[in-house]
Amino acid sequence: MTRSAQWLYGWLLLLPAAVLLALFTHYPAVATLWHSFRSTPRGSRASTFVGVDNYAQLVDDPIFWQSLTNNLWFAIGTIPLSITLALLMAVWVNGRIAGRGFLRLAYFTPTVLPMIAVANIWLFFYTPEYGLLEQITGAFGMPAHNWLGSKNSALAALMVVTVWKEAGFFMIFYLAALQQMSPQLAEAAAIEGASRAYFFRRVTLPLLMPTTLFVLVNAVINAFRLVDHVVVMTRGGPDNATELLLYYIYEIGFRFWDSAYAAALTMVLLLLLGVVALLQFWFLERKVHYQ
């Protein structure tokens, strides 16, 4: 096959998938950019071009800033914890211990549950007064606490749910990478007299960097694009304590029907994700060793 023929075949093979994606993902995303510079059509008034008015409105919107801060805390609270847990669990399950299959199954379970089901499960678990968590903390003599209803614990409660769900997913990828690792490396290190901690820090971790990069990008994205748990568990309350950016967009767009302002908010979210992704690649590319 000549080179140009291969290109032609390649493009033809890609075409159906590209069309589907362009129609149902890329186009709607670009349309959002367009909407963000126009006013929301209301009744007889058609949408007009308003320049950056929507973005100006955003600067003076305290709830926007609060949702942004909340989201940053949410990211800081969930990403390192779920990745560390995933790595620990993967290393643990990778070793030869009794009941390994059962452990793996246990870790996978939260991952394969739909987020909406997870949110429901934890809603029951957190129920004040007679939820399981309350009963157990009560049995240890701790005071009753409304985890989702109180301003200072609601966001943390959501973080726990997210880590619970995500750590298992990331573990799958770490586990795959660990199983690819040659046992000769560990043997060589053992002969040289390296401690297990040293080996983990200087050999295992660097070799896992590509996986870490992949997992990290996913974790960051998920911290900003998950919304199901907020919808089910708190609806942004109490007093906007769990108002995440995406949920705020949902509220503006679907409770207050201000689609133009929602579009502007969306663009901010996209910009934020883009910057974070670029930073990660720029920063981590130097630390990643592919093979």
Partner: protein, 276 residues
């Protein structure tokens, strides 16, 4: 190779510590699920009772009665998931092959375009799709929901398919071509079977994603298409905790079943290629 072996501590203490960590893990993972089980079999339960006053199957009968909408939703969910898998794989297998195998110019740029949707929050996208679908009459139809699910599942499917094809040894293909196999025969009898575990895994992922999908169905399918997650959401919002719990358990069954299958099909070498 356990990160939790603590060499500095005497053995009995180590065992105790390990048991505590294990118990905490077990509670963290299964505690919430236990609570769900309690709700699923509770006939009556309200504050201040620590446990349900009565256990029973009344709500199970209600969910499974012929006129109940749970079974209909389950049927709708599965049907949508099957169609979504068919559509996603039909376009993802060729695309994955092209990306995993052929030396295309701007391959990484194309790959990025294919990965981008994974980074875009779905919600605003669904909102725009819902508007377009409303104009062309696709809102509230199975086809509309399938298109939304497929365009979402496609990203994952292309990803895994391209990794699966990339992990197939080229020399095997070359050998079959040397022995006179046509390109199509070679693909059908060598490449495809070797990539099959990865492709099956991606089909399973897409199936589960579709089965579990909530946001997109909520925007595009309501009120005519009611999938299981939507049913659960409605039950939960209506304070009908028993129905919500039973629906959640129903959703758990295919997830766990498929998870067991995935472990068999998704080989480590394919997973390790993802994201490369």
């Amino acid at each position: 190779m356990t990160a939790l072996s603590l060499p500095a501590l005497p053995p009995p203490l180590r065992t105790v510590l390990r048991a505590i960590v294990l118990a905490l893990f077990a509670f963290a993972i299964f505690g919430p699920l236990l609570n769900l089980l309690l709700w699923a079999f509770a006939e009556r339960w309200y504050f201040p009772n620590k446990l349900p006053l009565e256990f029973g199957l009344t709500f199970w009968y209600r969910v499974f009665q012929p006129r109940g909408n749970a079974l209909a939703s389950l049927g709708t969910s599965v049907w949508i998931a099957v169609l979504t898998v068919a559509l996603s794989l039909a376009v993802a297998v060729p695309a994955g092959y092209a990306l995993g195998r052929l030396k295309l110019p701007w391959r990484s740029a194309i790959l990025l375009l294919f990965l981008l949707p994974q980074a875009v929050p779905n919600l605003p996208v669904y909102v725009n799709i819902a508007q377009v679908f409303y104009q062309i009459g696709l809102n509230g139809t199975i086809l509309g929901v399938v298109l939304v699910h497929a365009s979402h599942g496609l990203v994952l499917a292309v990803w895994i398919a391209s990794a699966a094809f990339a992990s197939v040894d080229v020399s095997l293909e070359e050998a079959s071509r040397n022995l006179g196999a046509s390109p199509w025969t070679c693909f059908r009898t060598v490449t495809l079977p070797l990539a099959a575990p990865g492709l099956i895994a991606s089909a399973i992922f897409v199936f589960l994603e579709s089965l579990d999908e909530f946001t997109g169905t909520y925007f595009v399918g309501v009120p005519d298409v009611t999938t299981l997650p939507l049913l659960m959401f409605n039950a939960s919002m209506g304070g009908n905790y028993q129905i919500a719990s039973i629906t959640a358990l129903l959703l758990l069954i295919p997830s766990i079943g498929f998870m067991l299958v995935v472990e068999r099909f998704l080989k480590a070498d394919v997973l390790a290629m993802v994201g490369r």
